[in-house]
């Protein structure tokens, strides 16, 4: 007799909202593009795009609200108690909310950008929503199957998004490389999962945790391959090489989206995996992560020094930031992990902000990505220049900005855990990072403008993203924990980061 499973739909509410949203957007695109008017205006591409963009933002906002509710509610919900595949706890709720927010901001950033680049297709929003669904799925998962599925659901749309500007060779190449290397990494990850399944007899985190035998080479190979799969997604050295190529080639708005969301989701999933599934392997995994973190910090920062393309530079910087985040993992303490969560949120704001500036400068279907094109920007676009400086300063980790608080929490946790040498390496490399981050302000403020004229007007969505990110970067830099903003109420982000991890440590 088949017993219908007991399903807690609330546990998948954010996922479902976004998934429905994606389909609604697809449908809407079909209908709207056939319609003659949209909301009373002539149905130009731009209007269709805007309407779809706002609709998808609405869905994301709804998902954000749902995820936020789950976080505030604080209970741990399992979707299917008889065969738990998903577990919406405070951690996954928080990360889902962050991912939703990041996607929302990315869409806000994209609406006018797509028009500017003349790739204004409604599928774009659907794909972003689908990818967001995948990320939420991945961070909510407590089973290798759902982790993998989430990962793929996240990746496949992003492969497409990277190649979204399909008339451009660079965009093609970006998509191709991301796809090729991504599916290769997926295969490695899968093989690892297969081996883990083979040793543990199950794919859920709990089973793996129970069945993982540190002396069994097959299990170890499996763990290693799974780590590799995630190391690829978080773009840590030596699985980082796709990052600069893909970030550079993809349309800027897509790069913005993938650089923050993928990283957040992948780190969150890795965190869950490490805490919930691989707990017994801590020592040896810590060493592996130590090396990966050190390499990431060094290679990311050193390579960024010679870059002449802002997106590529930010790509290397994201590799370096992956290294810093991994330092929190190496610390391995609750403080370290909560620092990682905090860092991820902060990173979202500052990196999105930086890309938002790049996007806001895109002109006549061309990305404003050569570093020289920033020359003299302070003269022509003082506001954007100031904001870019703020984001660069924050990425560098100068006190007073969120970037510093993030680095501070990570390093504090690392030092408290006795991870001195990695910390020292990290701080030395952030000195190197000063050089390349501050090159951009140097060009903007200290050089004469070049021939390239930047776009002179700013779209509402871009302004929104810039303001949100700038406020967040400043606010979190000064009040990472105890600030409160009128209307939003108290924002004890550090507390949230810490509390979100409690369910993971409890189990």
């Amino acid at each position: 007799m088949i017993t219908p499973p007991e399903l807690h739909l609330t546990a998948v509410l954010p996922i479902v909202i976004v998934a429905i949203g994606s389909m609604a957007i697809l449908m809407g695109e079909v209908f709207l593009s056939r319609a003659s008017t949209v909301l009373g205006r002539k149905a130009t591409d731009i209007w269709v795009g805007s309407v779809l963009g706002f609709a998808s933002m609405a869905f994301l906002a709804l998902a954000l609200y749902a995820a936020w509710g789950a976080f505030v509610g604080g209970t741990t919900q399992v979707f299917n108690a008889s065969h738990p595949l998903l577990q919406l706890d405070r951690f996954s709720a928080l990360i889902s909310a962050v991912v939703a927010l990041a996607s929302l901001l990315s869409i806000a950033l994209s609406i006018s950008y797509l028009a500017e680049l003349r790739i204004n297709h409604g599928e774009y929003y659907a794909l972003i929503l689908l990818a967001t669904t995948g990320m939420m799925l991945m961070v909510t998962a407590i089973d290798l199957l759902t982790v993998f599925l989430g990962l793929e659901l996240m990746s496949v749309p992003i492969y497409v998004l990277a190649g979204f500007d399909r008339r451009k060779l660079r965009s093609n190449e970006s998509a191709l490389k991301y796809f090729l290397i991504g599916s290769f990494a997926s295969a490695l990850l899968l093989y690892g999962m297969a081996l883990l399944y083979g040793t543990c007899g199950g794919t859920s985190f709990a089973e793996i945790r129970a069945g993982l035998d540190p002396s069994n080479p097959m299990a170890l190979i499996g763990v290693g391959l799974v780590i590799v799969g995630f190391a690829f997604k978080i773009s840590s050295v030596p699985f980082h090489q796709w990052t600069p190529d893909v970030y550079e080639g993809a349309p800027s708005a897509v790069t913005a989206f993938m650089s923050v969301t993928v990283k957040t989701a992948a780190f969150a999933a890795l965190l869950r995996l490490l805490l919930l599934a691989f707990g017994s392997l801590e020592a040896s995994l810590t060493n592996v992560l130590w090396v990966i973190a050190a390499l990431s910090v060094v290679v990311g920062n050193v390579m960024a020094v010679i870059q002449d393309n802002v997106k590529r530079l930010l790509a290397y910087s994201s590799i370096a930031h992956a290294g810093y985040l991994l330092i929190g993992f190496v610390a391995g303490t609750p403080a370290g992990y909560s620092a990682v969560v905090f860092y991820l949120i902060v990173y979202m704001f500052m990196n999105l902000g930086a890309f938002a500036v790049v996007v806001a400068l895109a002109n006549h279907g061309k990305d404003c990505e050569r570093i020289e094109s920033f020359a003299g920007l302070a003269r022509s676009r003082p506001g954007l220049a100031a904001l870019m400086t703020l984001f660069m300063v924050s990425l560098t980790g100068i006190p007073g900005t969120a970037g510093f608080m993030a680095k501070f929490t990570i390093f504090a946790a690392a030092v408290n855990a006795g991870v001195i040498w990695l910390t020292i390496l990290g701080v030395l490399m952030s000195v190197v990072s000063v050089y390349y981050y501050l090159r951009i302000p140097v060009l903007m403020y200290m050089r004469e403008p070049g021939e390239e004229a930047p776009r002179m007007e700013i779209a509402t969505g871009e302004a929104l993203v810039l303001i949100v990110c700038a406020v967040a970067v400043l606010f979190l830099g000064i009040f990472p924990n105890d600030g409160s903003i009128y209307f939003f109420g108290e924002i004890p982000l550090l507390d949230w980061a810490r509390e979100s991890l409690e369910p993971l440590f409890a189990s």
Partner: protein, 106 residues
């Protein structure tokens, strides 16, 4: 009863062949095929391992097989997208040689 070690061994052989194919072949389509080969190897491993963890008849454990189903779908999706990228690429570049795809570097 099939010897599990040989099944897994076969899977490993196919996986490594897939890896070698992906790393050495220059035709993009063949590389895609190699990746498919890797996924197939994984599937074989899953099926083989599911044979080792079948559960009881009352409560059969089909994790591995479900996984395989998912992987097949994923493979299909990847191939679709991958070939789409290859086509888009071919239109612009008129080649499927992966070594010509190096505009973005350094």
């Amino acid at each position: 009863m099939l010897p599990l070690d040989h099944v897994i061994g076969l899977s490993a052989i196919l996986f490594v062949l897939g890896v070698i194919g992906a790393v050495t072949r220059r035709n993009l389509i063949v590389i895609l095929m190699s990746i498919e080969l890797m996924l197939n190897a994984v599937n074989l491993a899953f099926v083989g391992f599911n044979r080792a963890w079948p559960g009881s008849s009352a409560a059969p454990q089909l994790d591995g097989q479900v996984f395989v189903l998912v992987v097949i779908c994923v493979a299909a999706a990847e191939v679709a997208v991958g070939l789409g990228i290859v086509i888009a690429m071919f239109r612009n570049r008129d080649s499927v040689n992966i070594e010509e795809v190096s505009l973005l570097k350094w």
